[in-house]
């Protein structure tokens, strides 16, 4: 049977979800799929749009897996807008002059921002907040201005205000209603939100309507509000709600709602049964759903219906939301305004702490109908579950909003039914998580990648962790992060025991807290913790047997039993004289020489008995050990920056050297890599490092927890526009907190992914000092820095230490089993088959 033609108009978040769902159900076997996308970019994360201002790129925001269209043979036409639908002929004409025929048509055109009919609303530098193109235009316009104004104080309006604020403009919000976020919160909550946002430097004008916009005196525009009441501004962003993008449907006479929106049934089929509508363009039972989660549900249901599956129907959706607006937590659940007849509210308000919580309770007093949370939304997950699952309240309704003294959750993950929706963005139920855990998921990261739970807004990540822990425990999986059979403790606990108990040797640690003889897991871990805490010389006798061979011989063991030598070249800056010394040493010992990814030189093939001589030469020439062998700071890569580069805005090399000198030798749970870029062109690739620093006109932007290697991870922007002092202080705290709390061999990227509370929590601890440990972290770091020694310098000055650099205890000769082959002008260890040939030749 010939394939049918499926045409999708609109490639936003919902359109992409539709394609994924259809492909997963084998839709490609029955349909040839063509997608029209009016924008210049394929689907991206519109929910995360604001992060575009804080450093994310269009690529970061993309929702399309690499190679998706090629792999599934789907035709995507970018910059192509549908102009008209001919339902009789079943064709669509486009702005590019094409006529495409269809058997089935899906409208996922979304919505457009409503611009109030104010005279002057079409002046220059008046924008809407919807697409990446809009954002680019806002960024360009903000460069010449000083004041920015958002018309509309709803959810998206406040996001836009944050964007203007981040662009460095004095920011105003003008809202017609008497409060902010009128739909989601009540007067008290809105009032508190207004206070908090004003504290951050954004001026809020409520109950204010704009009469017209005219030329300004001090700024580009003047917005007239009424009698002598006006505001001058350079940039205006309209964010006064959305309207369904239903022009196409109107022109071809599909059934629409009174106030727009394409009418659909429970399967998202429109009044023409060849045409579906999904997402914000669709009107279901008189309602438009302006959130992504219901749009995703529609996408799934429409795709299933197309494949002949009619079991699932769209039943409306919960419109509860939780978000962080300019650092203020705001959440709204269910019937937030208490519109249900007979409902009663219980309220907690603390104006000094800036917290407002309201729970709307049913007439019978047993069920939670809705809630408003401002300033502290930690209870959102619990309250939402109580509300959605219509569970009986666990006790006094007032306890729902009262401050909890012991911080205990109201509701264990255990109490939730399998149908409980944990992640509303991606519609993941507790049952889905349990199935994934049965399928082998063991960590929050596993669950995220196989169910998408917490992958969109992340609001449910703490709840996902709770479900994971309780389910693993139920399955008899010992949820234990014990280091090994000798210590019933995690690395974090060992670190704590060592510090608090002032333990300095492995024997003492084993005697007090462990059993058996230790092993190749716990011994190097203990050695690393001792080094992080006390920074002893790693070769001191009590530590000798704890070290991995790399740390024991202060080199990197290679496959034939020889070592490689990597002197420190801080920031990758090296004088010609020093470079010549490296060349001479390499030549003298016939060492295979290679430039590393960390901007230094690696010399391979040194035998143990050669190491002290090699290092004597290097230390005499002013080199220090590069710690390439340790779980410790490796390199701080840099671009040349303002030293030479015509684009460089700061001295990236100088800062890289300063940072590398500061943290060199710092022992940590795993290796640490850093980089410093001298401008936003980012030639040092800092966003792929554990700690990445990028110069801006206003200071340093700090990125953390990036990774290259096996599981690449883009670093997260942690703090912006830091001074040199702020940068160092922040990195001090960040590194020490990582060293204190990470698991063995856990890079910062995985550490962050498993850190409860994620990036926001990390920011609170490091930037806001929420645990009150900032000074302690800095002092601990200062101790390590003050006690730094070059381990090779110490070694070559200590005859006892040098003695151990021998292959045989009873003979000074070298290992006679080493065989080499010359390749590309240098030597390398022979492979097994080559060894046989070499022996035959001999």
């Amino acid at each position: 049977m010939a394939k049918q033609q499926l045409l999708l108009i609109g490639h936003g978040m919902v359109g992409q979800r539709y394609l994924e769902s259809l492909v997963a159900q084998g839709g490609r076997e029955h349909f040839d799929i063509t997608v029209l996308c009016a924008e210049s970019l394929p689907a991206y994360d519109r929910v995360g749009l604001t992060s575009y201002f804080s450093g994310k790129t269009a690529d970061d925001l993309s929702l399309v897996p690499e190679g998706f269209f090629a792999e599934h043979d789907i035709t995507l036409k970018l910059n192509t807008k549908a102009d008209a639908i001919d339902r009789g002929a079943r064709t669509v004409t486009t702005n590019t002059g094409e006529t495409l025929s269809y058997d089935k048509l899906v409208l996922a055109t979304g919505s457009y921002p409503f611009v109030p009919p104010i005279p002057g609303n079409d002046r220059d530098n008046c924008f809407v907040y919807r697409t990446i193109d809009d954002l680019d235009a806002m960024i360009a316009a903000s460069k010449g201005g000083k004041v920015g104004t958002v018309v509309g104080g709803g959810l998206l309006g406040l996001e836009a205000a944050k964007a203007l604020h981040d662009l460095g403009l004095q920011t105003h919000v003008v809202e017609f209603a008497p409060r902010l976020m009128a739909v989601q919160v009540d007067d008290f909550g809105g009032g508190l939100l207004k206070d908090k946002i004003q504290e951050l430097g954004v001026t809020v004008h409520t109950s204010t309507g704009t009469k017209d916009i005219v030329d300004g005196e001090t700024c580009k525009h003047r917005m007239n509000f009424g009698e002598d009441n006006y505001l001058e501004t350079d940039v205006i962003v309209f964010s006064a709600g959305i309207r369904p993008q239903d022009e196409l449907a109107r022109a071809c006479e599909l059934e629409l709602g009174e106030r727009g929106g394409v009418v659909v049934n429970n399967h998202c089929v429109t009044s023409d049964d060849s045409i579906y509508a999904i997402g914000e363009v669709a009107l279901w039972e008189g309602r438009i759903f302006g959130l992504v989660a219901p749009g995703y549900q529609m996408a799934e249901i429409a795709a299933e219906h197309l494949m002949g599956k009619v079991e699932n129907q769209f039943q409306g959706a919960d419109m509860s939301t939780k978000l962080k607006l300019m650092g203020v937590d705001v959440a709204s659940i269910g019937d937030a305004h208490g519109n249900t007849p007979g409902s009663r509210s219980t309220v907690f308000m603390d104006q000094t702490a800036g917290i407002y919580k309201k729970a709307v309770i049913s007439e019978c007093g047993k069920k939670l109908l809705g809630a408003v949370l401002v300033g502290d939304a930690n209870d959102y997950g619990n309250l939402l579950q109580l509300c959605l699952n219509e569970m009986d309240l666990p006790g006094d309704p007032a306890a729902l909003v009262a401050p909890v003294s012991d911080g205990a959750p109201l509701l264990g993950a255990d109490a939730l039914p399998d149908t409980a929706q944990i992640c509303s963005c991606n519609n993941v139920s507790k049952g889905d998580l349990c199935a994934a855990i049965d399928g082998g998921a063991m960590t929050v990261g596993d669950l995220k990648s196989c169910t998408k739970a917490s992958a969109t807004c992340g609001g449910c990540s703490a709840l996902v962790k709770q479900v994971l822990d309780s389910e693993l425990e139920k399955r008899g999986v010992e949820v234990n992060n014990h280091l090994c059979e000798h210590f019933p403790y995690s690395r974090q606990e060992i670190y704590h025991l060592v510090r608090v108990g002032q333990i300095t040797t492995f024997d003492e640690l084993l005697e007090k807290h462990g059993s058996g003889e230790g092993c190749d897991i716990c011994k190097p871990t203990a050695a690393s913790v001792f080094a992080s805490c006390w920074n002893d010389y790693v070769l001191n006798k009590p530590h000798a047997g704890l070290q991995d061979t790399n740390d024991y011989f202060l080199g990197n063991l290679q496959r034939d039993g020889t070592y490689s030598v990597v002197p420190r070249v801080a920031g990758g800056e090296i004088t010609p004289d020093k470079l010549i010394v490296l060349g001479e040493v390499a030549k003298k010992y016939d060492l295979y020489t290679k430039i590393t990814g960390g901007q230094r030189v690696d010399l391979f093939g040194a035998r143990v008995e050669q190491l002290p001589d090699i290092w004597r030469t290097l230390v005499d020439a002013g080199f220090e050990t590069g710690h390439a062998y340790g779980k410790s700071l490796r390199t701080v890569k840099s671009c040349v920056g303002s030293t030479w580069c015509r684009y460089g805005v700061k001295d990236s090399v100088g800062t890289a050297i300063q940072v590398e000198e500061r943290y060199k030798g710092l022992r940590s749970p795993h290796k640490i890599k850093m980089a410093v870029s001298g401008c936003t062109r980012e030639c040092a690739e800092a966003q792929s490092k554990d700690v990445g620093v990028i110069a801006t006109e206003k200071g340093w932007n700090l990125y953390v927890c990036g990774n290259g290697g096996m599981r690449p991870r883009h670093a997260d922007l942690f703090a912006s526009d830091l001074t040199d002092e702020e940068l160092i202080k922040t990195v001090d705290r960040f590194l020490m907190f990582y060293i204190k709390t990470a698991d063995r061999l856990q890079r910062t990227s995985v550490w962050l992914e498993n850190l409860e509370g994620g990036l926001d929590y990390l920011k609170q601890v490091i930037l806001e000092d929420s645990l009150g440990i900032g000074a302690e972290l800095e002092a601990e770091m200062a101790h390590v820095i003050d006690t730094y020694q070059c381990e090779w310098k110490t070694t070559i000055e200590d005859d006892e230490a040098v003695k151990r650099f021998k292959h045989f205890v009873n003979d000074n000769s070298a290992d006679d089993n080493l065989k080499y082959v010359r390749e590309r002008g240098q030597r390398r260890p022979a492979f097994e088959h080559e060894r046989i040939e070499l022996v035959e030749e001999a």
Partner: protein, 114 residues
């Protein structure tokens, strides 16, 4: 070990040459051994050749215990070898030669096949 094979005791080093909790390489006629001294002072010797990498490096492995067995972990790919029997714990088919060790005064001696 087959006890009917004649052995010869060879002095290799002083007791102090091996720190407790570490190992050293030993040259024997035609072969290399790894000599270990555990934390409690017991001495063991195995082949120095790591059968998984063919490198002579077992003397540089970390000592420890797995259950009630005393082991050394290869520094290359981390397989464990029983110090008493030479048996590899990860691969039944692989085992190392064990060399008897004795101490006379402060001198360590290994028994090698004559």
């Amino acid at each position: 070990m087959n006890s009917s094979v004649a052995v010869q005791w060879q002095a290799v080093c002083k007791l102090d040459d091996v720190l407790p909790g570490t190992g050293v390489g030993v040259r024997l006629p035609g072969r290399q051994a790894a000599l270990f001294r555990t934390r409690d002072g017991s001495l063991y010797a195995l082949d120095n050749r790591d059968p998984f990498s063919q490198a002579n490096v077992l003397s540089r492995g970390i000592l420890g215990s797995v259950g009630d067995k005393r082991v050394v972990a290869s520094p290359i790919y981390k397989q464990h070898f029983d110090l008493e029997t030479g048996q590899c714990l990860e691969d039944e088919a692989v085992s190392l030669t064990v060399y008897p060790v004795e101490v006379e005064g402060d001198v360590i001696k290994l028994a090698v096949p004559a």
